[in-house]
């Protein structure tokens, strides 16, 4: 009798999802799926609103990465106004984007993934969380919270609030920066850099402990997509799209983000509200690609801060002949390299005298009826596209969220892990946690398409082919 194992909800991710694992009569895994079972419909209810409101509205999409939506929306607004924003405004927007990376990446590593790494996949699920981490290493946990706070402090200092600041607008930003605020943030830098380095050192030290697990964590070739600077450097705010294959070959480069819809299509499945973007020239599902830290660190030619560049070279050396690191477990490593980069780059921006220039906004009327904004959110490339009438009223909205772009790869990762660990007769909490951890590599932010409502216990159900409940486990 065939069976289905359901993991619902998936824990320590942002948003609501479940995993189903389908077994045949012999208990062998035949398929596994990552379902996103909430729907929000932001694209639809933005229609009819004024373009000027979009930065403030779309930042409400998510309580974790609101700043990424804020910046990307403001950039779409710049495009509709057809203005070049003042150089200082771009630097301030870059700074707040880095702050978003810092707080999000710190949360992902210290709060959501470290319990697995430092306590073990098979440790007691009752303590495999931030409290268990505190019990094991209080100072490590404190540092993680402080690092995340640093990111939040930048956002609050610039935007006057930590979440959903309306600070960035089409044409620039609302307020210039101040010397006292700059100095306050600069004082955080040494501690933040030290913590980012500690995180890297800790993660690398546990790689060996998980040497038997790591090869099963979404270890497959796929395309990698992200923005790079004109000179090939790691980019987070602007630039052009680069596409690399799993062998490390750049198959498309210097793609204008305005042509993203020519490059990427979106497939749908009736079992998930999350779409399945793919690279059009290869079709669906062969055009599967990954975005986010693993992709960005793979595709860039270099990182323009010294400590992060040093780590990038170590990271790339792991790729061997493939010249691209294909194992999704190393999302964590790439994420921490980016965390270090974000701290270093934030310091450089804070030390740039031009960041204090009071001219931070360009003003114009509606000059185009369509605009596209793009930036690198913590989890990957984020696109906002708006169509407006001559008064700036939204006629249509299209948002391509980073997490969705990893959907095909997340499903492939779940399938690979299920096939490796489940034989139908031995389903333990540790095995289920490993499968969830496969999803956590991508640090999906399902709030971008769902409304997070806090944490829930893990619930696993075994169904036969007729959907009769055979067994269940609750954490």
């Amino acid at each position: 009798m065939s069976k289905t194992v359901t993991i619902a909800p998936v824990t320590r991710i942002e948003g609501h999802a479940k995993i189903t694992i389908h077994l045949d009569d012999k208990g062998t895994v035949t398929d596994a799926r990552f379902h996103v079972n909430e729907f929000r419909g932001f694209e639809k209810f933005c229609e009819g609103r004024l373009m000027w409101e979009m930065a403030g509205i779309t930042s409400r999409i998510c309580g974790i990465c609101p700043t990424s939506h804020l910046i990307t929306s403001a950039k779409a607004g710049d495009d509709i106004l057809a203005v070049a924003i003042p150089p200082t405004a771009e630097k301030l927007r870059r700074l707040i984007t880095l702050a978003q990376w810092i707080q999000s990446h710190a949360l992902s590593f210290f709060h959501l993934s470290s319990p697995d790494f430092l306590l073990g996949f098979d440790s007691d699920p009752a303590t495999r969380n931030i409290f268990g981490l505190i019990a094991k290493d209080k100072e490590f946990a404190r540092r993680g919270i402080r690092l995340r706070k640093f990111g939040q402090e930048i956002i609050e200092v610039l935007g006057s609030r930590r979440i959903h600041t309306p600070w960035a607008v089409a044409g620039g930003v609302r307020e210039p920066f101040e010397v006292s605020k700059r100095d306050y943030l600069l004082a955080w830098i040494p501690e933040a850099r030290e913590t980012a380095l500690l995180a890297l050192k800790t993660l690398k030290s546990i790689h060996e402990n998980f040497s038997t697990d790591i090869p099963n964590y979404g270890n497959f070739r796929s395309l990698f997509v992200g923005l790079v600077a004109p000179d090939g450097a790691l980019e987070y705010y602007d630039g052009t799209i680069r596409i690399m294959d799993g062998g490390g070959n750049i198959i498309a480069d210097k793609i204008d983000p305005h042509s993203y819809s020519d490059q990427f299509g979106e497939a749908t499945e009736d079992w998930s509200y999350l779409k399945f973007p793919y690279y059009k020239p290869l079709g669906h599902p062969q055009g599967m690609y990954r975005v986010g830290p693993l992709a960005r660190v793979n595709i860039c030619d270099y990182i323009d801060t010294p400590l992060a560049e040093e780590e990038r070279q170590i990271f790339k050396a792991m790729a061997g002949q493939a010249e691209a690191v294909n194992n999704s477990f190393y999302y964590h490593y790439a994420r921490l390299i980016e965390l270090l980069f974000a701290v270093e780059k934030a310091e450089a921006l804070l030390n740039d005298p031009e960041i204090l220039n009071p001219h931070v906004r360009s003003k114009a009327m509606i000059n185009r009826l369509m605009g596209i904004g793009v930036s690198e959110a913590p989890r990957g490339t984020l696109f906002h596209q708006y169509w407006v009438d001559e008064n700036g009223v939204l006629q249509k909205v299209n948002l391509i969220i980073a997490t969705a772009q990893n959907n095909l790869a997340m499903n492939r990762t779940v399938r690979q892990l299920a096939m490796r660990y489940i034989d139908g007769n031995k389903i333990t909490d540790g095995i289920l946690n490993r499968i969830e951890a496969g999803i956590r590599c991508f640090d999906p932010c399902l709030s971008c398409s769902t409304h997070a409502a806090g944490q829930m216990p893990l619930h696993v159900q075994l169904f036969d082919a007729d959907h009769r409940l055979l067994d269940e486990i609750r954490r």
């Binding site: 309580g63 409290f131 404190r142 995340r148």
Partner: protein, 161 residues
Amino acid sequence: MIPALVIGFGNTLRGDDGAGILAAEQLAARLPDLAVDTMQGLQPELAERLRGFGRVVFLDASLRNPHLAFSLLGGSPRRTRPGSHSLSPAEIMDLCFSLYERRPEEAMLVEIPAHDCGIGTAMTEATRSAITACVEAVARILCNDQAFSATLPSNPVEPAA
């Protein structure tokens, strides 16, 4: 007045869900010396801020309670299992204690009855009335330097689970 921190949280784009934030803002206007924070959800770094206060009041909207409900938070630290980015008031209190070996001596959760948390900024009249009652009650409690437990209103008081 004993220094206290009031934290109003919720989503102001989800109708009555923003009740905690609105109540906190009204308290800030009424008691200028009061420390007031507003936020969508309770984030882990809030634990560090909590440790600097002796009293804390959390204001949240609730679809569960039909009446304004006051609960004391505290007692033995609980062993909760936070799994996402947003924590409950009790979890934040526990996190504060676990990290810093101290936390506010007194903490209270005030749940404001919500009726419609659909998309939009409009609030129901019933929730607006409850916000007014909440602000009156919390202002009275905070201006009274007695223990929270001695000054709580008599309507539904269930220790928070």
